[in-house]
C-alpha cells in the first residue's frame, strides 16, 4: 500500500475493506479496488497520463473528474472513448491509453458535433 490513498480521514472516517481487482493499462499490470473508477485506480498507482492528443500528441490526464471534459477517455476491453473518471474498474479489465491517430480518422470520429 502506498500513501496515495486516504485510508483514514478525520471527518469521513476509515475506508472500509474492499476487494482487490487486477487490470492492465497499456499491457502493464495494476491493482485497484472494487467500486473505484479507472482514473482513481490509476492515479492511486501513480499513473496520471491517460492518453495523448490524437493529432498533437500532447499528454493528457483527468481534468474534470466528473464526466464533462472527456480528457480522460481510454479504450476499455476494445471499446474506445470510455471516460475513465466515470467507469468502475473491473477484475481483468484491459485498458489502453489513447494514441495519436491518423488525422482523417479523427475527423470522422468527431463529425457528430458539427
Amino acid at each position: 500500500m502506498n500513501n496515495r490513498r486516504i485510508l483514514h480521514h478525520p471527518v469521513l472516517g476509515t475506508m472500509p475493506e474492499r476487494n482487490a481487482v487486477h487490470f492492465t493499462f497499456d499491457g502493464k499490470k495494476y491493482k485497484g479496488f472494487e467500486g473505484e473508477t479507472i482514473a482513481a485506480a490509476l492515479l492511486a498507482s501513480g499513473v496520471r497520463t491517460l492518453r495523448v492528443h490524437e493529432e498533437k500528441e500532447t499528454p493528457r490526464g483527468i481534468y474534470c473528474n466528473i464526466g464533462h471534459c472527456f480528457e480522460c477517455r481510454v479504450t476499455v476491453n476494445g471499446q474506445p472513448g470510455v471516460r475513465s473518471c466515470l467507469t468502475e474498474i473491473n477484475d481483468g479489465m484491459v485498458i489502453e491509453s489513447g494514441k495519436r491517430q491518423p488525422t482523417p480518422l479523427k475527423r470522422k470520429e468527431i463529425a457528430r458535433h458539427v
Partner: protein
C-alpha cells in the same frame, strides 16, 4: 411507463424523486456518475456553528429515502438528447430510450476554466476534480499542489484537501486574460472573499469582514499585503501573486508565479518557481443546461445566477409543456437550496400528474416554496452576491413573457 423521468441524481433530482414518490408517482432517476448523489458526494464543509456538512451522508439519506419509496435509480447512464414527442418527452440515453409525460432536468453545474499556459499537462485538474478524487475516491491528487483561482469554492475545497492530509503550497490568482478578467484582479477578489469571511477562522479575514467593506481599507490591506500571503486554515492565500505558467515535460513539475500590483498588473522580474506535482484550476461554476438547450427551451443570461439559465418559474416549470428544471441548472447555489428546489419541482410534477381537486398538495407546494426562500436567505455558502435579485428577475420574466 414512468410518470416522470428525472435526469441527475444530485440533491435536486433525488429530492424531486422523493416528492413524486410520496404522491405515488412512478419515477426513475438517471445519472451518468457511478453513484447517486451528484456533486453532494464531494462536499465537506464546517458550518458556522462548527458542525460538519458531510455530503456523502446527506446523499445517503436521500438515496435511502428514495429507494424506500420505490424510486428507480439508474447510475452510469448518460443522456445525450431529449425531444418533445406527442404529449411528452423522449429521453435518449447510451443504454435505451424512454418516453415520459414529465421530464425534470436536474443536471447541476459545470466548472468554468481559468486557462493558464501549460494547463493541459497531466496533473493539472479542475478544483472539483481534486475534491472528488479526495473525498469520494479517497485518492490524493498528488504529493504537493497549488490552487490557481481564489473564490468561495476553491477556498472550501482547498480546506478539504488539507483536511485529508494533502500538501497545498498556497492559493494564487490566475493570470489576467480575457477569460479570467476580475478573477485576476486582487481588489475584486478581495471583495468577493469578504463574503465568505464568516467561514474563515483567520483574524485577518474576520477583521477584514467587518472593516474592509470600506474602499480605503481594502486599498490599504492590498498595498501592505504580506509577501508570504495571509493564512486561512494554515494555507497561504496570495492575493498579490498570480500564476504565469505551469511547467513540465510530460506531467506537471512546477509552476511559475509572479507578484502583481493591487490591480493585477504583473510586476516584471518577480517571477519565482515552485515545485509541485499537481495544480488545481478554479474558474467558477455555470449552470449545465445543455439538455434544456437542445430541447429548445428559452434562456436568459443572468450573471447573478452564474450564466445562461433556462427560463422557469418558482414552481420549476419551463415554458415547454411537461419540462421542469431544478437545482444548479437554474443558477449556482448551495446543495441545500438545490435540494429544496428539487422538492418543489417534484410536488409541481405530482400536482399536474394527479390533477386532483385535493388542495393538500397545494399546501405542501406552498410550504416547499417557503422552505426554498428560507434556505436561500440563510445559506452559509453563497456563490453569487445578488442571487435574490437574479431569482426575482427570472420570476418576472416568466410572468411577463410566458404565462
Amino acid at each position: 411507463m414512468y410518470d416522470a423521468v428525472i435526469i441527475g441524481a444530485g440533491p435536486a433530482g433525488l429530492s424531486a424523486a422523493i416528492a413524486c414518490a410520496k404522491w405515488n408517482l412512478q419515477v426513475v432517476v438517471i445519472d451518468e456518475f457511478m453513484k447517486p448523489g451528484g456533486r453532494l458526494l464531494g462536499q465537506l464543509h464546517q458550518e458556522p456553528d462548527g458542525t460538519w456538512w458531510n455530503g456523502i451522508k446527506e446523499a445517503n439519506i436521500l438515496v435511502e429515502q428514495a429507494r424506500a419509496l420505490g424510486v428507480d435509480i439508474w447510475c452510469g447512464v448518460s443522456v445525450h438528447h431529449i425531444e418533445e414527442v406527442g404529449q411528452g418527452w423522449r429521453v435518449h440515453t447510451n443504454k435505451e430510450r424512454i418516453d415520459t409525460p414529465k421530464l425534470l432536468l436536474a443536471t447541476g453545474a459545470a466548472e468554468t476554466p481559468a486557462p493558464v499556459p501549460g494547463w493541459t499537462l497531466p496533473g493539472v485538474m479542475s478544483i472539483g476534480a481534486a475534491q472528488v478524487m479526495t473525498n469520494v475516491h479517497r485518492v490524493r491528487p498528488g504529493k504537493k499542489g497549488i490552487v490557481i483561482g481564489i473564490n468561495v469554492l476553491s477556498a472550501a475545497i482547498t480546506r478539504e484537501l488539507q483536511l485529508a492530509g494533502g500538501d497545498v503550497v498556497g492559493m494564487v490568482l490566475p493570470p489576467v486574460n480575457p477569460i479570467t478578467k476580475d478573477a485576476g484582479n486582487p481588489r475584486k477578489v478581495m471583495q468577493s472573499l469578504l463574503r465568505i469571511s464568516h467561514l474563515a477562522p483567520s483574524a485577518f479575514l474576520r477583521m477584514g469582514g467587518k472593516l474592509s467593506r470600506a474602499n480605503w481599507m481594502q486599498k490599504l490591506a492590498l498595498t501592505f499585503y504580506p509577501k508570504s500571503g495571509v493564512k486561512m486554515w494554515g494555507i497561504p492565500i496570495h492575493l498579490r501573486k498570480a500564476a504565469v505558467q505551469i511547467n513540465g515535460e510530460k506531467e506537471v513539475e512546477s509552476v511559475t508565479i509572479c507578484s502583481v500590483t493591487p490591480d493585477g498588473k504583473r510586476i516584471e522580474g518577480s517571477e519565482q518557481t515552485m515545485d509541485v506535482d499537481f495544480v488545481c484550476i478554479a474558474g467558477g461554476l455555470y449552470p449545465l443546461a445543455e439538455l434544456a438547450a437542445v430541447a429548445g427551451c428559452p434562456f436568459h443570461y443572468f450573471p447573478e445566477l452564474g450564466g445562461h439559465v433556462p427560463v422557469h418559474n418558482e414552481r420549476m416549470k419551463t415554458p415547454l409543456e411537461g419540462l421542469y428544471v431544478a437545482g444548479n441548472i437554474t443558477g449556482i447555489e448551495s446543495a441545500k437550496v438545490a435540494r429544496a428546489q428539487g422538492f418543489v419541482a417534484g410536488l409541481s410534477i405530482a400536482k399536474e400528474t394527479i390533477q386532483s381537486a385535493d388542495s393538500a398538495i397545494d399546501k405542501h407546494l406552498e410550504n416547499a416554496l417557503d422552505e426554498v426562500r428560507k434556505i436561500r436567505s440563510n445559506a452559509a455558502i453563497q456563490f453569487h452576491q445578488d442571487i435574490h435579485a437574479g431569482r426575482n428577475k427570472m420570476e418576472s420574466i416568466y410572468k411577463e413573457q410566458f404565462s
